[in-house]
Amino acid sequence: MVNKQFPHKIIWLASYPKSGNTWFRAFVSALMGASEVELNNLKADGIFSSRQLFENITDISSHDLYDDEVKLMLPDVYRELAATRHSAALIKVHDAFTRNIAGEFIIPQDVTHCAVYFVRNPLDIIASFANHNNLTIDQTIKTLNNNDAYLAMQKANLNINVQTAQLLLNWSNHVISWTTLPNFPVYVLRYEDMLTDTFNVFKNVLNKIGWHYPDEEIKNAIAASSFKKLSEQEKSSGFFEKNINSKVFFRSGQAGNWVNELTPEQIARVTEQHGEVMKMYNYLP
């Protein structure tokens, strides 16, 4: 089985939130043997910021640790995880590719096989991310523009979220950190290409990872993980990754809908700050 490849290594599925990460995990889940995708039981190995995974490996409750301490331990936690694996571990990560206070990258490069980085037009991320956090469009633009932005960071250092805090940086720096700093291969997928040319984009990235599946199996997995199917499943049985403050995780999944969602002034606030990186991915209006 190809999914038994790359023992003791990790494949990171990295992205800024709401950029296609969950869709790809659902696709891989379908590909790895599940004929029907179970949204609440995706065949990936968790998220980098999972407190449960951290505690299973360290025997320490991360609720009792400072965020700096958690970040110091994370590289060893994932080295340990990789060491116990007989096939590659697939780990979702929203953290930017940054260093801890000891100067070490929080992602351990020595046990990494590769990363797939999902990038999406920030103008489309905004309404989706606003829905995810139950925040306004303006508040969400502030987050995308804020280089100190965190996901799951709680007020006054409360440690009660199910995930540890994830430093996102601003949107541009998130992209730059993952696409320029790692010393391992990072395969970048544009969300917009995933939508318009799903089969070729997915097949191509599988080949780059080193997973060679027959076309038929890839097509079946794409069908089993379609946005419509995932969205219907969320409606019928919920999705535990949905933020408690939002109504739905799978909202519209479209590209280019920002023209109906943002005002010219809001668009300008995004393009002024992120124009350079947006241009690299052909996202400038």
Partner: protein
């Protein structure tokens, strides 16, 4: 200076003040804590290596970077080697959690990851992972008039003569996050004088004046779980087989229970518990806040 305390059903002597525990008088300590140099390796040959710990049947080394290294042996001895600049609150937090759990294992006792209140002279346990809301539900039960028995760890003992499982309290301190204190219906009954670590907004609430050290039989166990999106918390009474499977996982730091004798004791204890106690899974809504825990406390009461 040596300080003498009661905690986890044991007489503990300590070179450091431990306000969490109950001052006690005794001749012979069950457990002696010392400050000193932790050995680099264990003496016993059969060891299990974990990322930050090494464990054998009767020995244990554990390290929390920036805080301390700990050595526990024979169920009787703990050596603490503080890291430079470490504060005593942090040193005690990990000592009174993982390290004491291992001491209990070494003595043939099972620390259960559960909080408890007393109802009709029996124990009602609230089990669940860290962050499941055990302590918060405890405060809700207390505000309904139930006596708090223990927070976070309950020491379980299997009594062969009566074929019953009893629980003993760990120590009289409840650990609560600041948001729970601030939003409590009776905030005046809590204080923020004792942070469990200097930069963590989680505060110890002592109940030394109303603390029960007796071993009491367990009548109910509620497993707290964060549910999916529902408006109403779910309650599911568990059959014996499901209860066994879930209770098995509620043992505190069970990876450190490495002796075959302990595993057999653990098996017998859980089997007995599933027959002895009503086990109910409580699914919390995925929203937090005072009212939701009030709902849970109401549900718990209907089972008692």
């Amino acid at each position: 200076m040596i300080y003498k305390y009661w905690g986890f059903g044991l007489h503990i002597s300590s070179p450091i003040v431990m306000p969490e525990l109950v001052p006690a008088n005794f001749e012979q300590a069950d457990v002696t804590l010392t400050i000193g140099r932790v050995p680099d390796n264990l003496n016993e040959p059969q060891i299990v290596k974990r990322l930050f710990a090494t464990v054998s049947e009767q020995e244990f080394i554990f390290e929390i970077s920036n805080v301390a290294r700990y050595y526990a042996a024979g169920g009787k001895t703990v050596i603490i080697e503080p890291k430079e600049g470490a504060d005593e609150h942090s040193i005690r937090l990990f000592l009174l959690g993982t390290v004491m759990a291992v001491i209990l294992y070494q003595r043939g006792c099972i620390p259960f990851h559960a909080s408890a209140v007393i109802n009709k002279n029996k124990l009602v346990l609230f089990a669940g992972n860290s962050g499941a809301g055990k302590s918060t539900l405890l405060t809700q039960m207390a505000s309904r008039g139930y006596e708090i028995f223990t927070d976070d760890i309950c020491v379980m003992t299997f009594d062969k003569t009566t074929n019953q499982v009893t629980g003993t309290a760990s120590y009289p301190m409840l650990k609560l996050w600041e948001d729970i204190l601030d939003n409590a219906a009776n905030p005046a009954s809590f204080n923020k004088e004792y942070p469990v670590r200097p930069h963590l907004p989680k505060y110890g609430q002592f109940f030394h004046d109303n603390f029960n050290r007796e071993a009491l039989p367990v009548s109910h166990i509620f497993i707290l779980k964060k549910g999916l999106d529902t408006d109403h918390p779910a309650q599911v009474p568990l059959d014996a087989l499901t209860a066994f499977r879930i209770l098995e996982k509620q043992t505190y730091r069970s990876r450190f229970a490495v002796s075959p004798a302990l595993r057999s004791l653990h098996f017998n204890m859980i089997s007995t518990l599933t027959n002895q106690a009503q086990v109910v899974e409580l699914q919390r809504c995925r929203t937090s806040g005072e009212t939701k825990f009030t709902d849970l406390a109401e549900i718990v009461e209907t089972w008692l």
